[in-house]
């Protein structure tokens, strides 16, 4: 059965964890940077997603530390999380390629952008 597509914020959270484990605030910052500021996740939304992704086994806790007497957890992408992200990226790429081919064929875009 085909897996449901990932919500954009979930996709970006997983992407933010690809290069290195990150703590919550670093994930927020990374998501803003990846999306050029278009996706401005709030902490409440982020932790709802992190909790769900942990339950699904797509991310896990790498380590914990105390910073200024506050708990800070670092999250990492699991193998199945990386696989899920790769599958979703392939799906998005395939859709984007199909859209580009059709737009080009219809003469609505050139290589540089819209006609």
């Amino acid at each position: 059965m085909a897996k449901a597509s990932l919500h954009e914020s979930t996709y970006l959270i997983l992407t933010a964890l690809v290069e290195a484990p990150r703590h919550g605030y670093a994930v927020l910052e990374e998501v803003r940077q990846i999306s050029d500021g278009r996706v401005d996740l709030r902490a409440g939304t982020l932790y709802a997603a992190l909790d769900r992704l942990r339950t699904e086994g797509l991310i896990d806790i790498e380590r914990e530390e105390q910073v200024q007497s506050r708990l800070r957890r670092y999250y990492r992408l699991t193998v199945s999380g990386a696989q899920r992200l790769a599958e979703e990226s392939a799906r998005l790429r395939s859709n984007a390629d199909a859209a580009s081919v059709r737009l080009r064929r219809a003469g609505l875009i050139f290589d540089g952008g819209a006609a």
Partner: protein, 337 residues
């Protein structure tokens, strides 16, 4: 009030287990992400936190209800409810048939006896048999038909007489397809044991046959009809009342004799039906004690919005309370599930 206090107040909306897991960490991220000099949570954070709290509660409830004990309770309730609805709908057709056998040429004298009531009774019996044979999905699909009939019947009663006196069977019927749609980890024969299934069969036979037995034995002819509010009927003779009571007690015995984990869940699941029964039989009506209804020329007025809201919200809220008490008790008790 500091910014941190503001956030902590919002985090109080989350389930306790979630707060234990994430509160300190989340507060740290919220404070790191706050603008310099910010003194109150911004509306976007408030919305995100309230949305996150709602999601956490829904996920927690989903996780709780997906446990094996709840699944078994759902299946057992589906069977018991289907049999009780069969009893309710089959009594009159069976009496009709018994009257034919006892040389009454027109039976009970009503055309509706076999259609649609007899057919619906047959549907509920099919649902019960399907559950026993482990065909849960088929049972759920058939139960949709029975439930639709029960709901339409109540709606018609309300349309004609503004009465919700018989709302409880509709609530019970509506629950049947829902609980049977849940896949149980083992068969109902395994979870209830054979003797309870036998007791359920006996309860069903006694309850369905009560009016017919009373008629055929003719013992009730000389007795005064008794008030049957507690046995969900009225104007019945003593023998019929005794048989009906015995039938309902056997149903109760099955529920009360199940292992504690299953019993608690069964009792919690019947809370919405029980609350509806109490509200409609005791609370609503011209003599209603807490939802008194006015009437004109002996005809009840339509329910007010507040009364409708009470009828809808009270069963749901009390079910939630029952489930919360059950889970708290099991978490703190030595025999937790």
């Amino acid at each position: 009030m500091t910014l941190e206090h503001g956030y902590r107040r919002l985090l109080a909306c989350y389930p306790r287990a979630y707060r234990r897991q994430y509160e300190d960490e989340l507060i740290g991220v919220l404070l790191d992400d706050a603008s310099p000099g910010q003194r109150r949570p911004v509306p976007r954070d408030v919305l995100a936190l309230l949305g996150g709290a709602l999601q956490a509660h829904v996920r927690q409830a989903g996780a709780r209800f997906s446990g094996d004990a709840w699944r078994e309770a759902a299946q057992a309730l589906g069977l018991i409810a289907a049999l009780m609805l069969f009893v309710r709908d089959a009594r009159v057709p069976v009496l009709h048939t018994a009257m034919f056998a006892d040389s009454y040429p027109y039976g009970i004298g009503e055309k509706f006896v076999f259609w649609p009531i007899g057919l619906v009774a047959l549907l509920w019996l099919t649902v019960a048999v399907s559950v026993v044979f482990g065909w849960g999905r088929a049972a759920a699909a058939i139960a949709v038909g029975g439930a639709t009939f029960e709901v339409v019947r109540v709606a018609e009663d309300y349309g004609q007489y503004s009465t919700v006196f018989n709302l409880w069977p509709a609530v019970l019927a509506a629950m049947v397809p829902l609980v049977l749609a849940v896949r149980a980890p083992r068969s109902v024969t395994a979870s209830l044991a054979r003797w309870r299934l036998g007791t359920l069969a006996a309860a069903t036979l006694v309850s369905v046959g009560a009016p017919s037995i009373a008629l055929l034995t003719a013992v009730d002819d000389s007795t005064t009809p008794i008030d049957g509010t507690l046995i969900f009927t009225f104007g019945v003779g003593r023998i019929e009342a005794i048989l009906l009571t015995a039938g309902y007690l056997l149903f109760a015995l099955v529920i009360l004799s199940t292992p504690a984990v299953l019993r608690r869940r069964l009792l919690a699941l019947v809370v919405p039906v029980g609350v509806t029964l109490v509200l409609t039989r005791v609370g609503l009506g011209t003599t209603g004690r807490f939802l008194r209804r006015s009437s004109h020329d002996g005809v009840l007025d339509a329910l007010t919005l507040a009364q409708w809201l009470t009828l809808v919200l009270a069963p749901a809220l009390l079910f939630a309370v029952a489930v919360t008490i059950l889970h708290r008790r099991e978490r703190s008790g030595p025999q937790g599930a």
